[in-house]
């Protein structure tokens, strides 16, 4: 597989089947979709089968806005290929995901990263140790943006 193809998938540059997308402002002036991150209660069911953001099971509390926060995305997807069968495309938000001055009294343990530009379609869900926050900040620092640790990775075999 060609190395460039993998990161181009993340950039939405190939459409191999019929798909309805939310139109960008211009097809010639590049834009980036808005990616958001919502927190979910420990009791919620959010997993690989999740197809889109939903308020069901989402945390609520003082200072938290339904839908979560916008993810800083200043680094485009990258791809590399050391052999014909060892290609990886990867992407990681370029800053921590931070919820400032919130009170989330019910335990939560999951963040859903989703594309708010494209009908809130789900990208990935990640779990962590169950937490609560009281009049404080919840910060989720991303793993290093490498072929083995990036938040999103597409790999050939």
């Amino acid at each position: 597989m060609c190395t460039s193809f993998m990161s181009e998938l993340m950039l939405g540059q190939h459409q191999l089947g019929t798909s309805t997308l939310t139109s960008r402002t211009s097809l010639t002036a590049p834009t980036t979709d808005t990616v958001k991150a919502a927190l979910y209660l420990a009791s919620a069911t959010v997993n690989a089968a999740t197809t889109a953001y939903s308020a069901t099971g989402e945390v609520s509390g003082t200072g938290y806005t339904a839908g979560g926060v916008t993810v800083t995305n200043a680094t485009a997807p990258t791809s590399t290929n050391t052999t014909a069968t060892a290609g990886v495309a990867y992407w990681t938000p370029s800053a921590s995901i931070t919820y400032t001055t919130v009170t989330l009294s019910t335990a939560f343990d999951c963040v859903l990263v989703y594309n708010s530009t494209q009908s809130n379609k789900a990208i990935a869900a990640y779990t962590f140790g169950s937490q609560t926050v009281t009049a404080g900040t919840f910060a989720l620092t991303m793993p290093s943006n490498t072929t083995s640790t990036a938040l999103l990775r597409l790999a050939t075999t």
Binding site: G129, T149, L154, T157
Partner: protein, 63 residues
């Protein structure tokens, strides 16, 4: 230092601070709590993801 609490902004000197942390293969997490008397009035958490846990479908996709 001023601390945001459920009672409003308060000087840290009026509060009891408790720090905690935990680490496993997936994350390194630290938190700070402030108590007024015995009441929790502030808790902040910082989760550092070290790698992607697989329970929620965050594993590498193979194409």
């Amino acid at each position: 230092m001023i601390v945001t609490t459920t009672k409003g902004d308060m000087d840290e000197s009026l509060l009891v601070r408790k720090d905690g942390d935990m680490e496993n293969d997936n994350e390194k997490t630290s938190w700070v709590e402030y108590y007024l008397d015995d009441e929790l009035v502030h808790r902040s958490v910082h989760v550092i993801l070290k790698k992607i846990p697989t329970l929620a479908g965050g594993e590498t996709a193979t194409i």
